[in-house]
């Protein structure tokens, strides 16, 4: 089985978010980048397929050279090969088109993406990739087994789970549940050293115009100061007259 894991290079969850150029660009200054957590659950599941079922695992990312440390980390965790599509990740559609091209050319049986990236939270890429390559698609995937060309996927639905049977080629939008947080792997020293010698191929992009453009970003209003109240009456009064929520 050939697996392609799509890796988004995203700011660490504890990063301070700021914008520049009149709130049109994300300020990367001083920001630490990590593997998108939803993708990391998928990568870890892919490693399981590699170890238990002999799958080959490639990782792919759309982005400039600055995203390579993220791909190297995926290699250090155990992926066999990495591909960087040398163009900035702009909107969901153009990213999906780039990924679909790699997925198609590489003849992958299983494409694992994250349900959404934790930076722009578009949540569209895996579905678009599935459509573009003509593969089956399971979103919000929290469990995946593959037997030959048949797959059993578990999907999170409102208030419960849904088990689906489908066949390869398959694209999933993965999330926590594919593996648990405690299963996530820290690259070990040998893995990091081996990552140095594993292929990281830079691929030029195919034509794909962004179909959406960011006009501006807006941060939520800063939280006001906490007000401590001494009695229930006062609380009711404030909620009614000041916050106007009751």
């Amino acid at each position: 089985m050939k697996i392609l894991v799509c890796i988004s290079h995203v700011p660490d969850t504890t990063s301070k978010i700021n914008f520049t150029d009149s709130d049109t660009k994300f300020d990367t200054n001083g920001v630490q980048f990590v593997i998108n957590p939803n993708d990391e659950f998928g990568l870890t599941r892919a490693m399981w397929f590699k170890e238990k079922q002999g799958a080959t695992v490639h990782v792919v990312n759309v982005g400039g050279a600055e995203t390579e440390p993220t791909l190297r980390k995926a290699l250090a965790i155990g992926a066999d090969e990495a591909i960087r599509i040398n163009t900035p990740a702009t909107d969901g559609f153009s990213v999906a088109k780039q990924l679909a091209n790699v997925a198609k050319e590489g003849g992958y049986d299983l494409v694992i993406g994250g349900r959404e990236s934790i930076d722009y939270n578009g949540g569209m890429v895996p579905g678009m990739v599935a459509k573009l390559i003509g593969a089956n698609f399971v979103n919000t995937c929290i469990g995946l087994e593959v037997e030959g060309d048949k797959a059993t996927a578990i999907r999170e639905i409102d208030g419960g789970k849904e088990t689906l049977k489908t066949s390869l080629p398959l694209v999933i939008g993965g999330q926590k549940g594919l593996v648990e947080e405690s299963d996530l792997r820290i690259p070990n020293m040998r893995g990091i050293m081996q990552a140095r010698t594993k292929p990281l191929n830079v691929k030029e992009p195919v034509d794909a115009n962004a179909e959406t453009n960011t006009v501006s970003f807006q941060k939520p209003a800063p939280k006001g100061a906490v007000k401590l109240v001494d009695s229930v009456d006062e609380l009711v009064n404030l909620l009614h007259n000041e916050a106007k929520v009751i």
């Binding site: 001083g30 390579e68 440390p69 190297r72 980390k73 250090a76 820290i186 690259p187 070990n188 020293m189 040998r190 990091i192 050293m193 990552a195 140095r196």
Partner: protein, 602 residues
């Protein structure tokens, strides 16, 4: 993995004092390769997942937890970083081994100690001095954490005077093994170790001999109870008793009578690693302290808005920054020296030994400086937390207790102070470092008329660098006169040695920070280094004060009359700023960054 070397001419150990080091020639934490950064991040993740959340358990004498973490560290490859690949390790360069040691040691002194004892003094002597058979037999197991190592040097009556141990090794009649008998104490990792490097005396040898001893209770080895200690509560520390313990002759480490040298050389590495091991502890204390200060509201505002707290945060961050600067500067010097020797045909083993030995002075300087920094840092950490800091429910209390041991083990800070100066004097006598000519030049300068020209200090950090050059003259003046006065009896005059050591330490630390900042300002732009410039200036300002006090103390104790007056005048001249820094402003600049980032951000 060797990081790229730019040094055209590699300074020898101790030469920093008499030769100018260029900023572009120092290695800084900003020079880590992508791979080194990935390793650092992995170690941090490992600590954040496996150690930090269990911090409290480590305070309850959970030795099994330490062992478990060590085993996991082995699986991560962290125990074999410094071990050559042919013995199951990763064969990394010295800087990388320091980096791993730095970041694995930040959460608790219990793991820091277990890690240091195992990799440094428990494994390293075998890789450095072992025979091929010994290395093949023991090192792969130690490198992966299948086995754990300990180091048994100290005895009840032989602490700082390590060569005075009473443990005996007697050759059996058939000449096949030695029988070791004696008592060792303060043995880290003893509770779960498989091997021990044991030092014992054969007959009436002048020097002790090292042996690799497998920990087998059937073979006359018994252990005392776990010691009740102030800190590092989950580091296993016991007495170890040997009673006719049979050790095959092929387990002798190095030559007969070479044990003291092995012990001391292992400690050189241990010392610089201990400095590294005290760095992330500082970063974590600072991060916690600033987070607390930003959240703790008094008088309706976060206490981080108060000048008294800003002062502390600025000083804490400065110490950590300076410690990092000096540790990695020396670490890279060692790595380069090893590479140079390998190139010249030395075996890796020989090269590493000589490489570290070359910088033994710097190793001692760092051990003293950084172990005292973590003590101060955690002390102020408690102070920022106020009453909560005194409670075992916050991480400051254990950080403070754990820090205390760093000033004692790997040679007390007093021993290391004396060693730093003593070794420098010895190097001068051997002609490895020319102190005589520079000292004479300073003496001549003292007699001459001082220059009244106003130097141009418009260039970044130029006044600071000029100050460092003058502080070096203070050391040469004080140490030079002391050597002249006391000759070979200098070592009897410990108060003078202590003062001289403090001068030496402050010079090395201050210079390292200035050079790191200068290098980074050059490549990343001065604007990006605003706080780093402030930290370098703040540290130097304190260094000048400390040096003034210590030098005066020394001068008053051994010089009289005209000579005393001339030296005090010189001291004044060599510690004079043309433009005094605004200390309050420097601290505000530094604190602002720490507070707004809510972390140690450098």
């Amino acid at each position: 993995m060797e990081t790229e070397t730019k040094n055209n001419e590699l300074l020898r150990g101790g030469q920093f004092l008499v030769k100018e080091t260029k900023a572009e020639d120092v290695f800084t934490p900003e020079d880590f390769s992508e791979e080194q950064k990935m390793m650092r991040d992995s170690v941090k993740e490992f600590v954040d997942r496996e150690i930090w959340p269990k911090k409290e358990e480590f305070e309850h004498k959970n030795y099994a937890l330490t062992e478990e973490v060590m085993r996991k560290a082995g699986e991560m490859g962290l125990l074999g970083v410094a071990v050559p690949e042919e013995y199951g390790g990763l064969g990394m360069g010295f800087v990388t081994t320091m980096l791993v040691c730095d970041y694995i040691s930040g959460a608790t002194g219990s793991v820091a100690t277990a890690f240091g004892a195992h990799t440094g003094i428990g494994t390293l002597p075998i890789t450095l001095y072992g025979t091929e058979e010994q290395k093949k037999k023991y090192v792969p197991k130690l490198a992966t954490g299948e086995w754990f190592g300990a180091y048994a040097l100290t005895e009840p009556s032989a602490g700082s005077d390590a060569n005075s141990g009473k443990t005996k090794a007697v050759l059996s009649e058939d000449g096949k093994y030695y029988k070791i008998s004696g008592q060792k104490m303060w043995i880290s990792n003893s509770g779960f170790c498989h091997t021990m490097i044991v030092f014992a005396r054969i007959e009436d040898d002048k020097y002790i001999t090292g042996f690799i001893v497998e920990n087998d209770p059937e073979n006359g080895i018994s252990m005392g109870e776990e010691e009740k200690k102030l800190g590092i509560h989950s580091s296993s520390t016991r007495q170890v008793f040997f009673s006719d313990t049979k050790v095959p002759v092929e387990n002798m480490l190095g030559e007969r009578g070479e044990g003291f040298k092995i012990a001391m050389n292992a400690l050189n590495v241990g010392r610089i690693k201990l400095a590294a091991a005290s760095l992330d502890a500082q970063r974590r204390v600072i991060a916690n302290a600033v987070q607390y200060a930003n959240e703790r509201i008094q008088f309706n505002v976060p206490i981080s808005s108060f000048g008294a707290i800003k002062l502390k945060l600025a000083e804490m961050a400065t110490s950590a920054y300076v410690g990092e600067s000096a540790s990695y500067r020396a670490g890279k010097n060692i790595e380069d020296r090893i590479a140079l020797r390998v190139k010249a045909g030395n075996s890796h083993q020989e090269a590493e030994l000589k490489g570290v030995e070359e910088y033994a002075i710097e190793c001692s300087i760092l051990k003293v400086a950084v172990s005292e920094d973590i003590q101060n840092c955690s002390d102020e950490g408690i102070q920022i937390y106020g009453g909560m800091g005194y409670s075992a429910d916050t991480p400051m209390e254990s950080a403070w207790r754990d820090a205390r041991i760093a000033r004692i083990y790997e040679g007390t800070n007093e021993i290391n102070r004396m060693l730093a100066v003593g070794m420098l004097v010895k190097k001068a006598m051997k002609g490895h470092v020319d102190l005589l000519n520079p000292a004479q030049a300073v003496a001549a300068e003292l007699m001459g008329i001082p220059s009244f020209e106003t130097p141009d200090f418009s260039e970044l950090l130029s006044e600071e660098k000029a100050m460092i050059a003058k502080l070096k003259k203070v050391f040469l003046m004080v140490a030079g006169s002391a050597v002249q006065k006391y000759g070979t009896e200098l070592e009897e005059h410990q108060q003078t040695l202590m003062a001289a050591a403090d001068i030496l330490i402050e010079i090395y630390m201050a210079e390292s920070a200035i050079l790191r900042t200068e290098k980074n300002a050059e490549r990343f732009g001065e604007d990006s280094q605003k706080e780093q410039i402030a930290m370098s200036q703040l540290y130097l300002y304190h260094a000048v004060d400390i040096i003034t006090v210590k030098a005066k103390e020394a001068i008053l104790s051994f010089a009289e009359g005209d000579e005393q007056r001339a030296m005090l005048m010189g001291l004044k001249r060599f510690t004079k700023y043309q433009n005094m820094p605004n200390i309050g402003e420097l601290r505000r600049t530094i604190a602002h960054k720490v507070i707004s980032e809510n972390n140690y951000p450098f």
